[in-house]
Subunit: 292 residues, 2 copies
Protein backbone atom coordinates (compact mmCIF):
# COMPACT_ATOMS: atom_id res chain seq x y z
CA UNK A 1 0.00 0.00 0.00
CA UNK A 2 2.64 2.48 1.11
CA UNK A 3 5.25 3.49 -1.42
CA UNK A 4 8.95 3.41 -0.62
CA UNK A 5 10.18 6.69 -2.06
CA UNK A 6 13.65 5.96 -3.38
CA UNK A 7 14.19 9.53 -4.53
CA UNK A 8 13.56 10.86 -1.05
CA UNK A 9 15.75 8.27 0.69
CA UNK A 10 18.54 8.89 -1.83
CA UNK A 11 18.26 12.65 -1.25
CA UNK A 12 18.56 12.13 2.49
CA UNK A 13 21.69 10.03 2.04
CA UNK A 14 23.17 12.55 -0.37
CA UNK A 15 22.54 15.33 2.17
CA UNK A 16 24.20 13.23 4.89
CA UNK A 17 27.21 12.58 2.66
CA UNK A 18 27.43 16.28 1.74
CA UNK A 19 27.56 17.27 5.40
CA UNK A 20 30.16 14.58 6.05
CA UNK A 21 32.37 15.61 3.11
CA UNK A 22 32.13 19.26 4.17
CA UNK A 23 33.56 18.24 7.54
CA UNK A 24 36.57 16.51 5.98
CA UNK A 25 39.88 18.31 6.22
CA UNK A 26 42.40 18.21 3.38
CA UNK A 27 41.93 16.60 0.00
CA UNK A 28 38.30 15.75 -0.81
CA UNK A 29 37.25 12.31 -2.09
CA UNK A 30 37.81 11.82 -5.81
CA UNK A 31 35.98 9.47 -8.16
CA UNK A 32 37.36 8.58 -11.59
CA UNK A 33 34.62 7.84 -14.11
CA UNK A 34 35.83 5.94 -17.16
CA UNK A 35 33.48 5.85 -20.12
CA UNK A 36 34.41 4.24 -23.43
CA UNK A 37 32.20 5.11 -26.40
CA UNK A 38 29.03 7.15 -26.69
CA UNK A 39 26.24 4.78 -25.72
CA UNK A 40 23.45 7.25 -24.86
CA UNK A 41 22.46 5.49 -21.64
CA UNK A 42 26.11 5.44 -20.50
CA UNK A 43 26.48 9.14 -21.30
CA UNK A 44 23.43 9.93 -19.20
CA UNK A 45 24.49 7.67 -16.29
CA UNK A 46 27.97 9.16 -16.13
CA UNK A 47 26.54 12.67 -16.27
CA UNK A 48 24.20 11.85 -13.37
CA UNK A 49 27.11 10.48 -11.33
CA UNK A 50 29.19 13.60 -12.05
CA UNK A 51 26.34 15.85 -11.02
CA UNK A 52 25.67 14.00 -7.77
CA UNK A 53 29.38 13.99 -6.95
CA UNK A 54 29.50 17.77 -7.44
CA UNK A 55 26.47 18.18 -5.20
CA UNK A 56 28.19 16.27 -2.40
CA UNK A 57 31.58 17.90 -2.81
CA UNK A 58 33.22 14.79 -4.24
CA UNK A 59 35.65 15.56 -7.03
CA UNK A 60 34.96 13.63 -10.20
CA UNK A 61 37.36 13.04 -13.02
CA UNK A 62 35.73 11.91 -16.24
CA UNK A 63 38.04 9.95 -18.51
CA UNK A 64 36.92 9.36 -22.09
CA UNK A 65 39.35 7.07 -23.89
CA UNK A 66 38.74 6.64 -27.62
CA UNK A 67 36.28 3.90 -28.53
CA UNK A 68 39.14 2.21 -30.38
CA UNK A 69 41.14 1.70 -27.14
CA UNK A 70 42.55 -1.82 -26.87
CA UNK A 71 42.16 -4.12 -23.89
CA UNK A 72 45.82 -3.66 -23.02
CA UNK A 73 45.68 0.11 -23.26
CA UNK A 74 42.56 0.27 -21.10
CA UNK A 75 44.23 -1.96 -18.51
CA UNK A 76 47.24 0.38 -18.45
CA UNK A 77 44.89 3.32 -17.98
CA UNK A 78 43.23 1.53 -15.05
CA UNK A 79 46.62 0.69 -13.53
CA UNK A 80 47.50 4.37 -13.72
CA UNK A 81 44.37 5.24 -11.75
CA UNK A 82 45.09 2.42 -9.27
CA UNK A 83 48.47 3.99 -8.59
CA UNK A 84 47.26 7.58 -8.43
CA UNK A 85 47.05 8.62 -4.76
CA UNK A 86 44.64 11.45 -5.59
CA UNK A 87 42.03 9.00 -6.94
CA UNK A 88 39.92 7.16 -4.33
CA UNK A 89 37.33 5.37 -6.43
CA UNK A 90 37.30 4.07 -9.99
CA UNK A 91 34.15 3.36 -11.93
CA UNK A 92 34.25 1.85 -15.40
CA UNK A 93 30.86 2.48 -16.95
CA UNK A 94 29.20 -0.69 -18.19
CA UNK A 95 28.62 -1.83 -20.90
CA UNK A 96 32.03 -1.57 -22.55
CA UNK A 97 32.08 -1.77 -26.37
CA UNK A 98 32.11 -5.33 -27.66
CA UNK A 99 35.72 -6.36 -28.25
CA UNK A 100 36.67 -5.34 -24.69
CA UNK A 101 36.55 -7.96 -21.94
CA UNK A 102 34.50 -6.25 -19.25
CA UNK A 103 35.07 -8.80 -16.48
CA UNK A 104 38.85 -8.63 -16.98
CA UNK A 105 38.70 -4.83 -16.76
CA UNK A 106 36.58 -4.88 -13.59
CA UNK A 107 39.10 -7.26 -12.02
CA UNK A 108 41.94 -4.93 -12.94
CA UNK A 109 40.54 -2.14 -10.75
CA UNK A 110 42.30 -2.24 -7.39
CA UNK A 111 39.92 -3.80 -4.81
CA UNK A 112 40.62 -0.75 -2.60
CA UNK A 113 39.22 1.57 -5.27
CA UNK A 114 36.50 -0.74 -6.58
CA UNK A 115 33.54 1.47 -5.62
CA UNK A 116 31.30 -0.54 -7.94
CA UNK A 117 31.95 -3.63 -5.80
CA UNK A 118 32.40 -5.91 -8.81
CA UNK A 119 35.88 -7.21 -7.94
CA UNK A 120 36.18 -10.88 -6.95
CA UNK A 121 37.77 -9.90 -3.63
CA UNK A 122 34.89 -7.60 -2.75
CA UNK A 123 32.29 -10.22 -3.59
CA UNK A 124 34.26 -12.72 -1.50
CA UNK A 125 34.36 -10.30 1.43
CA UNK A 126 30.61 -9.87 1.19
CA UNK A 127 30.20 -13.64 1.41
CA UNK A 128 32.57 -13.64 4.41
CA UNK A 129 30.52 -10.98 6.28
CA UNK A 130 33.64 -8.80 6.09
CA UNK A 131 32.59 -5.18 5.75
CA UNK A 132 36.04 -3.85 4.92
CA UNK A 133 35.23 -4.21 1.21
CA UNK A 134 32.77 -2.56 -1.15
CA UNK A 135 29.27 -3.83 -1.78
CA UNK A 136 27.97 -3.26 -5.28
CA UNK A 137 25.63 -0.31 -5.43
CA UNK A 138 22.25 -1.82 -6.30
CA UNK A 139 22.25 -4.51 -3.59
CA UNK A 140 23.62 -2.01 -1.08
CA UNK A 141 20.85 0.38 -2.10
CA UNK A 142 18.18 -2.28 -1.57
CA UNK A 143 19.45 -3.00 1.96
CA UNK A 144 19.56 0.70 2.75
CA UNK A 145 16.00 1.24 1.46
CA UNK A 146 14.79 -1.63 3.66
CA UNK A 147 16.67 -0.36 6.70
CA UNK A 148 15.35 3.19 6.30
CA UNK A 149 11.84 1.81 5.82
CA UNK A 150 12.26 0.01 9.17
CA UNK A 151 12.07 -3.44 7.57
CA UNK A 152 14.17 -5.81 9.70
CA UNK A 153 14.86 -9.05 7.82
CA UNK A 154 15.55 -11.12 10.94
CA UNK A 155 13.33 -14.18 10.95
CA UNK A 156 11.73 -13.13 7.68
CA UNK A 157 11.67 -15.11 4.48
CA UNK A 158 13.39 -13.12 1.75
CA UNK A 159 12.80 -14.41 -1.77
CA UNK A 160 15.08 -13.09 -4.49
CA UNK A 161 13.92 -13.64 -8.07
CA UNK A 162 17.03 -13.60 -10.25
CA UNK A 163 20.56 -14.83 -9.59
CA UNK A 164 22.70 -12.24 -11.36
CA UNK A 165 26.18 -11.43 -10.18
CA UNK A 166 25.35 -7.75 -9.87
CA UNK A 167 22.08 -7.99 -7.93
CA UNK A 168 20.57 -11.38 -7.15
CA UNK A 169 23.51 -13.15 -5.55
CA UNK A 170 24.97 -10.21 -3.61
CA UNK A 171 21.59 -9.13 -2.22
CA UNK A 172 20.93 -12.74 -1.16
CA UNK A 173 24.29 -12.85 0.64
CA UNK A 174 23.59 -9.49 2.29
CA UNK A 175 20.15 -10.56 3.51
CA UNK A 176 21.75 -13.70 4.98
CA UNK A 177 24.54 -11.91 6.87
CA UNK A 178 24.80 -12.09 10.64
CA UNK A 179 24.22 -8.44 11.33
CA UNK A 180 21.50 -6.09 12.53
CA UNK A 181 18.76 -5.73 9.93
CA UNK A 182 19.79 -8.89 8.07
CA UNK A 183 19.64 -12.50 9.37
CA UNK A 184 16.95 -13.38 6.87
CA UNK A 185 16.02 -16.82 5.61
CA UNK A 186 16.84 -16.47 1.94
CA UNK A 187 15.61 -18.21 -1.19
CA UNK A 188 17.04 -17.49 -4.63
CA UNK A 189 14.78 -18.37 -7.57
CA UNK A 190 15.40 -17.92 -11.26
CA UNK A 191 14.09 -18.68 -14.72
CA UNK A 192 14.61 -22.41 -14.14
CA UNK A 193 12.65 -22.55 -10.88
CA UNK A 194 9.76 -24.97 -10.85
CA UNK A 195 6.41 -23.58 -9.59
CA UNK A 196 7.88 -20.15 -8.95
CA UNK A 197 4.60 -18.60 -7.69
CA UNK A 198 4.41 -21.14 -4.86
CA UNK A 199 7.80 -19.89 -3.69
CA UNK A 200 7.31 -16.16 -4.21
CA UNK A 201 4.02 -16.38 -2.29
CA UNK A 202 6.04 -17.36 0.78
CA UNK A 203 8.05 -14.17 0.70
CA UNK A 204 7.77 -11.69 3.52
CA UNK A 205 10.18 -9.61 1.45
CA UNK A 206 10.18 -10.18 -2.31
CA UNK A 207 13.05 -8.81 -4.40
CA UNK A 208 12.38 -8.92 -8.13
CA UNK A 209 15.58 -8.77 -10.17
CA UNK A 210 15.00 -11.03 -13.12
CA UNK A 211 15.02 -8.42 -15.89
CA UNK A 212 11.61 -9.26 -17.36
CA UNK A 213 8.97 -6.54 -17.55
CA UNK A 214 6.05 -6.99 -15.14
CA UNK A 215 7.07 -10.59 -14.46
CA UNK A 216 5.83 -10.65 -10.85
CA UNK A 217 2.05 -10.44 -10.77
CA UNK A 218 -0.41 -10.06 -7.90
CA UNK A 219 -1.13 -13.78 -7.64
CA UNK A 220 2.56 -14.38 -6.89
CA UNK A 221 2.59 -12.14 -3.82
CA UNK A 222 1.50 -12.79 -0.26
CA UNK A 223 -0.77 -10.12 1.25
CA UNK A 224 1.31 -7.78 3.37
CA UNK A 225 4.62 -8.55 1.67
CA UNK A 226 7.32 -5.93 1.16
CA UNK A 227 8.11 -5.79 -2.57
CA UNK A 228 11.35 -4.40 -3.97
CA UNK A 229 11.41 -3.97 -7.73
CA UNK A 230 14.91 -3.85 -9.19
CA UNK A 231 13.90 -4.05 -12.85
CA UNK A 232 14.17 -1.18 -15.29
CA UNK A 233 12.68 -2.30 -18.59
CA UNK A 234 11.65 -0.30 -21.62
CA UNK A 235 8.38 -1.49 -23.05
CA UNK A 236 6.85 -0.13 -26.24
CA UNK A 237 4.04 2.32 -25.59
CA UNK A 238 2.69 4.14 -28.64
CA UNK A 239 0.67 6.45 -26.38
CA UNK A 240 3.90 8.06 -25.15
CA UNK A 241 5.82 10.67 -27.02
CA UNK A 242 9.02 8.65 -26.61
CA UNK A 243 7.30 5.53 -27.90
CA UNK A 244 8.10 3.58 -24.71
CA UNK A 245 7.54 3.59 -20.99
CA UNK A 246 9.74 2.34 -18.16
CA UNK A 247 8.49 -0.57 -16.14
CA UNK A 248 9.92 -2.75 -13.45
CA UNK A 249 9.97 -6.51 -13.03
CA UNK A 250 6.77 -6.16 -10.99
CA UNK A 251 3.28 -5.71 -12.43
CA UNK A 252 2.53 -2.72 -10.26
CA UNK A 253 -1.27 -2.50 -10.71
CA UNK A 254 -1.90 -6.03 -9.41
CA UNK A 255 0.91 -6.20 -6.82
CA UNK A 256 0.58 -2.78 -5.20
CA UNK A 257 -2.81 -3.48 -3.55
CA UNK A 258 -1.38 -6.60 -1.84
CA UNK A 259 1.97 -5.22 -0.70
CA UNK A 260 2.47 -3.49 2.63
CA UNK A 261 5.39 -1.58 1.11
CA UNK A 262 6.51 -1.39 -2.50
CA UNK A 263 9.10 0.48 -4.53
CA UNK A 264 7.91 2.19 -7.71
CA UNK A 265 9.77 2.19 -11.03
CA UNK A 266 11.16 4.70 -11.66
CA UNK A 267 11.87 6.33 -8.31
CA UNK A 268 12.52 3.23 -6.20
CA UNK A 269 15.79 1.33 -6.24
CA UNK A 270 17.21 3.33 -9.16
CA UNK A 271 18.06 6.57 -7.36
CA UNK A 272 19.71 4.59 -4.55
CA UNK A 273 22.39 3.25 -6.84
CA UNK A 274 24.10 6.59 -7.37
CA UNK A 275 23.79 7.43 -3.66
CA UNK A 276 25.53 4.15 -2.76
CA UNK A 277 28.28 4.84 -5.31
CA UNK A 278 28.94 8.12 -3.54
CA UNK A 279 28.94 6.41 -0.15
CA UNK A 280 31.46 3.87 -1.45
CA UNK A 281 33.66 6.68 -2.78
CA UNK A 282 33.63 8.45 0.59
CA UNK A 283 34.47 5.10 2.24
CA UNK A 284 37.35 4.51 -0.20
CA UNK A 285 38.70 7.96 0.67
CA UNK A 286 38.48 7.19 4.39
CA UNK A 287 40.27 3.85 3.89
CA UNK A 288 43.00 5.52 1.85
CA UNK A 289 43.56 7.97 4.69
CA UNK A 290 43.51 5.23 7.31
CA UNK A 291 46.15 3.26 5.39
CA UNK A 292 48.53 6.14 5.07
CA UNK B 1 16.00 -45.64 1.54
CA UNK B 2 19.18 -46.10 -0.42
CA UNK B 3 22.42 -45.08 1.23
CA UNK B 4 24.96 -42.85 -0.49
CA UNK B 5 28.24 -44.57 0.28
CA UNK B 6 30.76 -41.75 0.71
CA UNK B 7 33.63 -44.15 1.35
CA UNK B 8 33.05 -45.90 -1.94
CA UNK B 9 32.68 -42.68 -3.94
CA UNK B 10 35.81 -41.26 -2.32
CA UNK B 11 37.74 -44.43 -3.14
CA UNK B 12 36.66 -44.20 -6.77
CA UNK B 13 37.86 -40.59 -6.97
CA UNK B 14 41.14 -41.46 -5.27
CA UNK B 15 41.69 -44.28 -7.77
CA UNK B 16 40.97 -41.86 -10.64
CA UNK B 17 43.41 -39.32 -9.22
CA UNK B 18 46.05 -42.02 -8.72
CA UNK B 19 45.79 -43.06 -12.37
CA UNK B 20 45.97 -39.42 -13.42
CA UNK B 21 49.01 -38.63 -11.28
CA UNK B 22 50.77 -41.75 -12.54
CA UNK B 23 50.35 -40.39 -16.07
CA UNK B 24 51.98 -37.05 -15.19
CA UNK B 25 55.49 -36.49 -16.45
CA UNK B 26 58.05 -34.64 -14.37
CA UNK B 27 57.61 -33.36 -10.84
CA UNK B 28 54.56 -34.78 -9.06
CA UNK B 29 52.02 -32.59 -7.24
CA UNK B 30 53.11 -31.53 -3.76
CA UNK B 31 50.92 -30.59 -0.81
CA UNK B 32 52.33 -28.72 2.19
CA UNK B 33 50.47 -29.57 5.40
CA UNK B 34 51.05 -27.05 8.18
CA UNK B 35 50.00 -28.14 11.65
CA UNK B 36 50.59 -26.01 14.74
CA UNK B 37 50.22 -27.76 18.10
CA UNK B 38 49.15 -31.27 19.02
CA UNK B 39 45.36 -31.16 19.03
CA UNK B 40 44.53 -34.89 18.72
CA UNK B 41 41.88 -34.39 16.03
CA UNK B 42 44.30 -32.25 14.00
CA UNK B 43 47.03 -34.86 14.33
CA UNK B 44 44.68 -37.52 13.04
CA UNK B 45 43.32 -35.37 10.17
CA UNK B 46 46.80 -34.45 8.96
CA UNK B 47 47.89 -38.08 9.15
CA UNK B 48 44.86 -39.11 7.06
CA UNK B 49 45.70 -36.45 4.45
CA UNK B 50 49.33 -37.59 4.32
CA UNK B 51 48.28 -41.18 3.89
CA UNK B 52 45.82 -40.43 1.09
CA UNK B 53 48.39 -38.24 -0.68
CA UNK B 54 50.89 -41.11 -0.57
CA UNK B 55 48.28 -43.48 -1.95
CA UNK B 56 47.68 -41.17 -4.94
CA UNK B 57 51.33 -40.38 -5.56
CA UNK B 58 51.05 -36.79 -4.34
CA UNK B 59 54.08 -35.69 -2.37
CA UNK B 60 53.20 -34.30 1.03
CA UNK B 61 55.40 -32.11 3.16
CA UNK B 62 54.32 -31.91 6.79
CA UNK B 63 55.49 -28.77 8.54
CA UNK B 64 55.20 -28.64 12.31
CA UNK B 65 56.11 -25.21 13.63
CA UNK B 66 56.41 -24.90 17.43
CA UNK B 67 53.12 -24.15 19.19
CA UNK B 68 54.73 -20.91 20.36
CA UNK B 69 55.07 -19.58 16.80
CA UNK B 70 53.93 -15.97 16.47
CA UNK B 71 51.47 -14.67 13.90
CA UNK B 72 54.27 -12.89 12.07
CA UNK B 73 56.51 -15.95 12.01
CA UNK B 74 53.69 -18.14 10.73
CA UNK B 75 52.92 -15.60 8.01
CA UNK B 76 56.58 -15.63 6.95
CA UNK B 77 56.47 -19.41 6.85
CA UNK B 78 53.36 -19.27 4.62
CA UNK B 79 55.02 -16.70 2.37
CA UNK B 80 57.95 -19.05 1.99
CA UNK B 81 55.62 -21.82 0.83
CA UNK B 82 53.81 -19.38 -1.49
CA UNK B 83 57.11 -18.64 -3.17
CA UNK B 84 58.34 -22.23 -3.32
CA UNK B 85 57.85 -23.50 -6.89
CA UNK B 86 57.97 -27.12 -5.72
CA UNK B 87 54.87 -26.65 -3.53
CA UNK B 88 51.49 -26.71 -5.32
CA UNK B 89 49.02 -26.68 -2.48
CA UNK B 90 49.14 -25.34 1.08
CA UNK B 91 46.82 -26.51 3.83
CA UNK B 92 46.92 -24.93 7.27
CA UNK B 93 45.16 -27.33 9.59
CA UNK B 94 42.31 -25.72 11.51
CA UNK B 95 41.90 -24.92 14.38
CA UNK B 96 45.05 -22.92 15.02
CA UNK B 97 45.97 -22.41 18.69
CA UNK B 98 44.21 -19.45 20.27
CA UNK B 99 46.44 -16.40 19.98
CA UNK B 100 46.82 -16.94 16.23
CA UNK B 101 44.41 -15.19 13.85
CA UNK B 102 43.21 -18.03 11.65
CA UNK B 103 41.37 -15.92 9.06
CA UNK B 104 44.42 -13.73 8.54
CA UNK B 105 46.58 -16.83 8.02
CA UNK B 106 44.11 -18.37 5.55
CA UNK B 107 44.16 -15.11 3.60
CA UNK B 108 47.95 -15.15 3.51
CA UNK B 109 48.00 -18.39 1.54
CA UNK B 110 48.37 -17.55 -2.15
CA UNK B 111 44.98 -17.99 -3.87
CA UNK B 112 46.78 -20.18 -6.45
CA UNK B 113 47.82 -22.63 -3.72
CA UNK B 114 44.72 -22.35 -1.54
CA UNK B 115 43.57 -25.96 -1.91
CA UNK B 116 41.28 -25.51 1.10
CA UNK B 117 39.34 -22.86 -0.85
CA UNK B 118 39.10 -20.54 2.15
CA UNK B 119 40.68 -17.48 0.51
CA UNK B 120 38.42 -14.49 -0.20
CA UNK B 121 39.35 -14.59 -3.88
CA UNK B 122 38.36 -18.24 -4.20
CA UNK B 123 35.03 -17.67 -2.48
CA UNK B 124 34.45 -14.69 -4.77
CA UNK B 125 35.25 -16.79 -7.84
CA UNK B 126 32.75 -19.39 -6.67
CA UNK B 127 30.09 -16.67 -6.44
CA UNK B 128 31.09 -15.52 -9.93
CA UNK B 129 30.67 -19.03 -11.44
CA UNK B 130 34.39 -18.84 -12.27
CA UNK B 131 35.89 -22.31 -11.99
CA UNK B 132 39.51 -21.20 -12.21
CA UNK B 133 39.64 -21.07 -8.40
CA UNK B 134 39.41 -23.65 -5.64
CA UNK B 135 36.16 -24.70 -4.01
CA UNK B 136 36.43 -25.63 -0.36
CA UNK B 137 36.50 -29.35 0.13
CA UNK B 138 33.28 -30.14 1.97
CA UNK B 139 30.93 -28.26 -0.40
CA UNK B 140 32.84 -29.64 -3.39
CA UNK B 141 32.46 -33.12 -1.90
CA UNK B 142 28.71 -32.67 -1.49
CA UNK B 143 28.30 -31.65 -5.13
CA UNK B 144 30.42 -34.58 -6.25
CA UNK B 145 28.41 -37.04 -4.14
CA UNK B 146 25.20 -35.72 -5.69
CA UNK B 147 26.59 -35.86 -9.21
CA UNK B 148 27.86 -39.40 -8.79
CA UNK B 149 24.49 -40.40 -7.30
CA UNK B 150 22.84 -39.02 -10.48
CA UNK B 151 21.02 -36.27 -8.57
CA UNK B 152 20.62 -33.34 -10.95
CA UNK B 153 19.67 -30.17 -9.05
CA UNK B 154 18.12 -28.41 -12.06
CA UNK B 155 14.59 -27.33 -11.20
CA UNK B 156 14.88 -28.85 -7.73
CA UNK B 157 14.47 -27.01 -4.47
CA UNK B 158 17.67 -27.31 -2.46
CA UNK B 159 17.36 -26.32 1.19
CA UNK B 160 20.58 -25.74 3.11
CA UNK B 161 20.30 -25.68 6.89
CA UNK B 162 23.23 -23.63 8.19
CA UNK B 163 24.96 -20.58 6.74
CA UNK B 164 28.60 -21.18 7.64
CA UNK B 165 31.41 -19.81 5.54
CA UNK B 166 32.93 -23.25 5.14
CA UNK B 167 29.83 -25.22 4.15
CA UNK B 168 26.43 -23.53 4.09
CA UNK B 169 27.16 -20.50 1.95
CA UNK B 170 29.53 -22.11 -0.55
CA UNK B 171 27.29 -25.13 -1.12
CA UNK B 172 24.33 -22.78 -1.65
CA UNK B 173 26.33 -20.82 -4.23
CA UNK B 174 27.40 -24.05 -5.95
CA UNK B 175 23.85 -25.38 -6.14
CA UNK B 176 22.77 -22.07 -7.68
CA UNK B 177 25.46 -21.96 -10.39
CA UNK B 178 24.57 -21.99 -14.05
CA UNK B 179 26.16 -25.30 -14.91
CA UNK B 180 25.23 -28.90 -15.55
CA UNK B 181 24.08 -30.63 -12.37
CA UNK B 182 23.42 -27.33 -10.57
CA UNK B 183 20.77 -24.68 -11.47
CA UNK B 184 18.87 -25.39 -8.28
CA UNK B 185 16.40 -23.13 -6.53
CA UNK B 186 18.19 -22.57 -3.24
CA UNK B 187 17.01 -21.67 0.25
CA UNK B 188 19.41 -21.06 3.12
CA UNK B 189 17.95 -21.47 6.61
CA UNK B 190 19.65 -21.11 9.96
CA UNK B 191 19.08 -21.00 13.69
CA UNK B 192 17.08 -17.78 13.34
CA UNK B 193 14.67 -19.16 10.74
CA UNK B 194 11.01 -19.00 11.66
CA UNK B 195 9.04 -22.24 11.20
CA UNK B 196 12.04 -24.11 9.88
CA UNK B 197 10.20 -27.45 9.39
CA UNK B 198 7.76 -25.81 6.94
CA UNK B 199 10.76 -24.84 4.84
CA UNK B 200 12.80 -28.03 5.12
CA UNK B 201 9.69 -30.02 4.14
CA UNK B 202 9.81 -28.30 0.74
CA UNK B 203 13.30 -29.60 0.03
CA UNK B 204 13.85 -31.99 -2.83
CA UNK B 205 17.46 -31.99 -1.64
CA UNK B 206 18.09 -31.20 2.01
CA UNK B 207 21.62 -30.36 3.16
CA UNK B 208 22.02 -30.34 6.94
CA UNK B 209 25.05 -28.34 8.05
CA UNK B 210 24.01 -26.64 11.25
CA UNK B 211 26.33 -28.43 13.67
CA UNK B 212 23.62 -29.71 16.03
CA UNK B 213 23.33 -33.43 16.66
CA UNK B 214 20.24 -35.04 15.13
CA UNK B 215 18.65 -31.65 14.54
CA UNK B 216 16.75 -32.69 11.39
CA UNK B 217 14.02 -35.15 12.28
CA UNK B 218 11.66 -37.20 10.13
CA UNK B 219 8.77 -34.73 10.40
CA UNK B 220 10.98 -32.08 8.77
CA UNK B 221 11.60 -34.11 5.61
CA UNK B 222 9.43 -34.57 2.52
CA UNK B 223 8.96 -38.20 1.43
CA UNK B 224 11.41 -38.99 -1.34
CA UNK B 225 13.86 -36.23 -0.50
CA UNK B 226 17.61 -36.61 -0.95
CA UNK B 227 19.26 -35.91 2.42
CA UNK B 228 22.91 -34.90 2.80
CA UNK B 229 24.18 -34.88 6.37
CA UNK B 230 27.26 -32.72 6.84
CA UNK B 231 27.35 -32.85 10.64
CA UNK B 232 29.90 -34.72 12.67
CA UNK B 233 28.96 -34.45 16.34
CA UNK B 234 30.17 -36.39 19.33
CA UNK B 235 27.36 -37.30 21.68
CA UNK B 236 27.85 -39.00 25.01
CA UNK B 237 27.05 -42.70 24.91
CA UNK B 238 27.93 -44.68 28.03
CA UNK B 239 27.22 -47.95 26.17
CA UNK B 240 30.31 -47.34 24.00
CA UNK B 241 33.83 -48.09 25.06
CA UNK B 242 34.91 -44.60 24.03
CA UNK B 243 32.04 -43.05 25.98
CA UNK B 244 30.66 -41.34 22.88
CA UNK B 245 29.28 -42.00 19.46
CA UNK B 246 29.44 -39.93 16.28
CA UNK B 247 26.22 -38.58 14.91
CA UNK B 248 25.29 -36.21 12.13
CA UNK B 249 22.93 -33.26 12.06
CA UNK B 250 20.23 -35.65 10.90
CA UNK B 251 18.23 -37.99 13.14
CA UNK B 252 18.92 -41.00 10.98
CA UNK B 253 16.30 -43.44 12.38
CA UNK B 254 13.36 -41.15 11.61
CA UNK B 255 14.70 -39.56 8.42
CA UNK B 256 16.11 -42.60 6.64
CA UNK B 257 12.70 -44.25 6.00
CA UNK B 258 11.44 -41.08 4.27
CA UNK B 259 14.50 -40.24 2.17
CA UNK B 260 15.05 -41.60 -1.32
CA UNK B 261 18.80 -41.21 -0.80
CA UNK B 262 20.70 -40.34 2.38
CA UNK B 263 24.31 -40.06 3.49
CA UNK B 264 25.26 -41.86 6.69
CA UNK B 265 27.54 -40.44 9.41
CA UNK B 266 30.26 -41.53 9.44
CA UNK B 267 30.93 -42.67 5.88
CA UNK B 268 28.98 -40.04 3.96
CA UNK B 269 30.30 -36.55 3.32
CA UNK B 270 33.35 -37.00 5.58
CA UNK B 271 35.47 -39.22 3.32
CA UNK B 272 34.78 -36.90 0.38
CA UNK B 273 36.59 -34.00 2.01
CA UNK B 274 40.04 -35.55 1.77
CA UNK B 275 39.35 -36.75 -1.78
CA UNK B 276 38.43 -33.19 -2.80
CA UNK B 277 41.58 -31.84 -1.14
CA UNK B 278 43.61 -34.17 -3.30
CA UNK B 279 41.70 -33.16 -6.41
CA UNK B 280 42.39 -29.50 -5.60
CA UNK B 281 46.08 -30.26 -5.14
CA UNK B 282 46.26 -31.98 -8.52
CA UNK B 283 44.45 -28.99 -10.04
CA UNK B 284 46.89 -26.55 -8.40
CA UNK B 285 49.76 -28.54 -9.89
CA UNK B 286 48.16 -28.40 -13.34
CA UNK B 287 47.61 -24.63 -13.02
CA UNK B 288 51.22 -24.11 -11.90
CA UNK B 289 52.39 -25.98 -15.00
CA UNK B 290 49.99 -24.07 -17.27
CA UNK B 291 51.30 -20.75 -15.94
CA UNK B 292 54.92 -21.56 -16.52
Amino acid sequence: MALIDGNQVAETIIAELKAHVASLKGRKPCLALVRVGDDPASVSYVRKKEKTAAEIGVESRVILPPVTISQGELEILIEGLNGDPTVDGILVQSPLPKPLNELAIFRRVSPDKDVDGFHTVNLGKLAQDDDSGFVSCTPAGIMELLARSKVDLAGKHVVVVGRSLIVGKPVALLALQKRAGANGTVTVCHSGTRDLPAITRQADVLIAAIGRPEFVTGDMVKPGAVVIDVGINRVTDPSRKTGYRLTGDVHFPSVEPKASLITPVPGGVGPMTVAMLMRNTVKAHALAHANR
